[in-house]
Amino acid sequence: MKNSRKSFLKKSSRRSFLKAAGISAVAIGAAPAIKAVAVASGGGTTTALPAATPKAEALVAKRWGMVINTGKITDEVVESVVAACRNAHNIPDFDHKPDEKKYPNTRPSNKSQEIKWIWEEHYEHAFPEMEDEFLAEKFKSLPFLVTCNHCKNAPCVQACPTKATFKRPDGIVIMDFHRCIGCRFCMAACPYGSRSFNFRDARPFIDKINPEFPVRSKGVVEKCNLCAERLANGQQPACVEASEGAIVVGDLEDPASEVRVLLNENYAIRRKQELGTEPSVYYIM
């Protein structure tokens, strides 16, 4: 026994030692690369959170869409819808007078910097390509509600350099405020003007902060998120609840859904359809 070991040691020349050392070095060097390949092909997700799930009561759809029945939109409905959205998402109202005690020396607001998620627009601005010399008189005074169209081919998503704006698999175009660097490319890209930039801290102009939704910091862009946080809790969007049936939100891919039934029975148009953005917001005329 002892003898054989001795002979083995003798046999293992410098040459064979170097061979073994070389192979070991290659193996050690290749291990991280092999591991990386294994992870990439083994379905390693970006958010390694196997324990994270949606809430049981969450409303889901293949592709969320909105139908606005313009015949049911009155000035009162517009007011309550805009107010409901404002309250749900802590959107500043630049007509609101800041509380002097809480926010002393607030500089005056600039209306051109207002934040808009859903707002009133006139026909010729909502549908500029459809303007007509002999347009029915009633359309000229009718209030239209416009918001983010959650486009199928959203130009804002393509423009965003940080992937702060992205499209969820269920069709909602949403923002990760944390990632927004405030470059405003998305605002230039959006043909509907649905995005607003926070030029200043909004807090002084929020009447009552809703603790269910964050406020935004200066230098961040924001827009309608189709109440993703409410859908996740099984609630309808705030505008739908406040609209007295004028706004319906549902699954565009489901032929039996309320939105599809409405679209089937009525003539509906979309904003700036010719641009090819495929808006998900329909207007029943």
Partner: protein, 131 residues
């Protein structure tokens, strides 16, 4: 003669080099004690173990954000079997839902460690808001 000068110089050098140590003797800058709210004490289990939480809470918050915003997954089942709402400040089973006092739960240690996370630029302390 030069020996004395060298020793005196060394004494001064050592004293200067050890300045941070002797200056802080006396415990004026003791690490803050964690004060759990009654609700958190009663719950006993948090998302992670105490030490893991202390070291990695920022990572888990980051992961939660991605999960909530990108994948719309808002419920987190911890490895210890407890469920949590993946939110900093909204709902009963969020961070501040249990650790009700932000000043004691967040600010105390952050101030001590001289870190200034920008969470509260946007997120709101429900207590502060409803006041």
């Amino acid at each position: 003669m030069s020996k004395n000068a060298i020793i005196a110089g060394l004494v001064v050098f050592v004293a200067a080099a050890l300045f941070p140590f002797w200056f802080n003797i006396g415990g004026t800058n003791a690490a803050p004690e964690v004060e759990l709210s009654a609700k958190a004490k009663a719950a006993k289990k948090c998302v992670l173990d105490k030490y893991d939480m202390r070291a990695n809470h920022m990572t888990i918050l980051n992961d939660w954000r991605t999960s909530v915003v990108r994948d719309s997954n808002r419920m987190y089942k911890s490895t210890n079997g407890k469920e949590f709402g993946m939110s900093l400040s909204t709902g009963e089973n969020s961070c501040l839902g249990c650790h009700t006092d932000k000043a004691k739960f967040c600010d105390k240690c952050h101030t001590y460690a001289s870190v200034a996370p920008y969470c509260w630029e946007c997120h709101t302390d429900p207590k502060e808001v409803t006041q």
